[in-house]
């Protein structure tokens, strides 16, 4: 975390803050910020969790109550069974980590080949992969959907199959860009030394390149999981079977048929896994996401 030595001073100097007037202003601003930010960012989450405990009558009551008068923990149980949350959460988890596995295998090997093995036409392939970054994803939704309905040459229909979510995530120019740039920074001498020791390209990748690439693999992994977890339109189109939907689509399609308090309890449950993971790994996640997106 930032330590405020004079080296990284900011808009307002520490000397200004040390004056009595500066001190008063600083502590006032700090307390206002703490209160306002807590209300704005935790307030809605508090309301979500507590509304999940309210009765149908209370959740629709005007004025709304700050604390549930008569808590109904059973709402959470109802939400869990009625919206089949176990199924939806498992599907999301399965799609997210499947996508992660495919991206790690295919994009890492591709970026490694483009960076270190440099085959003929490698630059053309790289250019074509990076060119996809220029095409907005929403534009491709329709032709991609047609492709998934009937995969060219193979004539497979991937609708309702996890492949329809996993494989398109591999076609991610940003992953190729991040990974290749990182591999480029690994000195070629190291590769040559490995080759002299008799290591083939696969052995070099596994024993030398991958252990050095942990930071970038972390960034790619976080993006891979978060992207699938937050995606909406694509999984809605390619996983129409309710038993195969991820959490976002499943809860939304059932949201009309359940009472408001049960729905909110379901929302709270759906938010729990990512919030927990975030609170546990917040340092890695926040630094990874900023590093990755800054350099994009």
């Amino acid at each position: 975390m930032a330590d405020f030595s004079p080296a990284n001073r900011t808009l307002i100097s520490s000397a200004t803050l040390a004056r009595p007037r500066g001190k008063v202003i600083y502590w006032t601003v700090l307390s206002v910020v703490l209160v306002v930010f807590t209300l704005v960012f935790v307030g809605p989450l508090y309301w979500m969790v507590t509304s999940g405990f309210k009765s149908v009558h209370e959740v629709l009551h005007n004025p709304p109550t700050l604390v549930p008068k008569d808590p109904h923990p059973a709402n959470y149980k109802t939400a869990w069974t009625q919206l089949k949350l176990a199924r939806l959460l498992w599907n999301t988890f399965y799609y997210a980590f499947g996508a992660l596995a495919f991206q790690l295998v295919f994009d890492v090997t591709a970026a490694y080949a483009l960076s270190k093995l440099r085959p003929v036409m490698g630059n053309v392939v790289l250019g074509a992969m990076l060119a996809t970054l220029m095409i907005p994803s929403a534009v491709l939704i329709i032709p991609q959907y047609m492709t998934v309905l009937d995969l060219p040459l193979l004539h497979l229909n991937l609708i309702n199959h996890p492949w329809a979510i996993w494989l398109p995530t591999v076609a991610n120019g940003f992953n190729i860009f991040l990974l290749k740039r990182f591999f480029d920074s690994i000195p070629d001498d190291l590769m040559a030394a490995a080759a002299i020791d008799g290591a083939g390209p696969m052995r070099t990748l596994v024993s030398i390149v991958l252990p050095m690439s942990r930071p970038i693999l972390g960034v790619v992994s976080i993006f891979a999981v978060v992207n699938v977890w937050k995606d909406f339109l694509w999984p809605m189109l390619v996983e129409p079977d309710p038993a195969k939907q991820p959490i976002n689509i499943g809860i939304n399609s059932l949201s009309q048929g359940v009472p408001q308090n049960v729905l909110i309890a379901a929302l709270a449950i759906s938010a729990l896994p990512t919030l927990l993971i975030f609170l546990l790994f917040q340092r890695n996640i926040m630094s990874g996401l900023t590093a990755g997106s800054l350099k994009g």
Partner: protein, 317 residues
Amino acid sequence: MAATTVPDKTTRRHAGRAAGPRAQGGRGGTSRRLSQNIQAYGFLIGAILCFGFFSWYPMVREFIMSFQSTKRGVTTWVGFKNIKTVYHDPYFWTAWKNTGMFTLYALLLGFAVPFLVAILLNELRHAQAYLRILVYLPVMLPPVAGALLFKYFYNPEYGLFNRILKIFHLPTSQWLDSSHTALISVVVAATWMSMGSATLIYLAALQNIPGELYEAADLDGAGLWSKIWHVTIPQTKLVLSLMLLLQIVATMQEFTNVFLMAGGNGPENSTMTVVYMVYQYGYHYNNFGGAAALGLFLLLVLAGFSGLYARINRNSD
């Protein structure tokens, strides 16, 4: 490796008789290079297939579909008919106006607010880690949780927001239920859900500003605003302009939040965005040619923004 030894031996035998060691080295090198290339493409094949099927081929198909029409399984070339159809759709300009307004509101809130929040957080000497986590919390929510929660808050009868307005004796609003406020309501919720990532990116950029610049500004007697204007903004210009472009491109493709919170088109089509219209053409009207043609319009507009960005950046360098 085993495959390479066979041709190697034969070349050596031929070469040895014909032209001596020089030719031998040349032929052996070629076959080794060939096998290296084959190996390299073996590493690439998975990604190439995925890009081919799910990115390159759909890109080509997007253009082809825009000029084709499929009826009862028969596909025919129809020239500019799809493009004319979507252009003359009564909601074509509505969708563009809404998308433009959404982008504008999202920039006013989602571009300015995170930057100001980042400047504020950067000045605080305490609780920085806590405040960062707070701002980032909503980013970690699944979109369905954030969107449907805000839909509940926005409810005009029992929602939290009207209650808060009442406590302060302010006029209440119909929020998502009125065509005047639906779009901005979605933008506010979307900003709450996503501003954490922009804030953290700006914070990282602010922390890279050399402190001497501020000290120099102090010696020149610069005030707070003039320091922000002459030091902070110029020093973060690259990140700011890149984020501006990324945000324009992302918000012009808005679908999820209007779909979840306003059912897509919203009251009197006041939240119907271009991407929602693409969705409607494809999955309600079953007119995939029209959907593709509309996508082509979107592609042109977004390419225009990217081109403009590249140009401005080149000029300023």
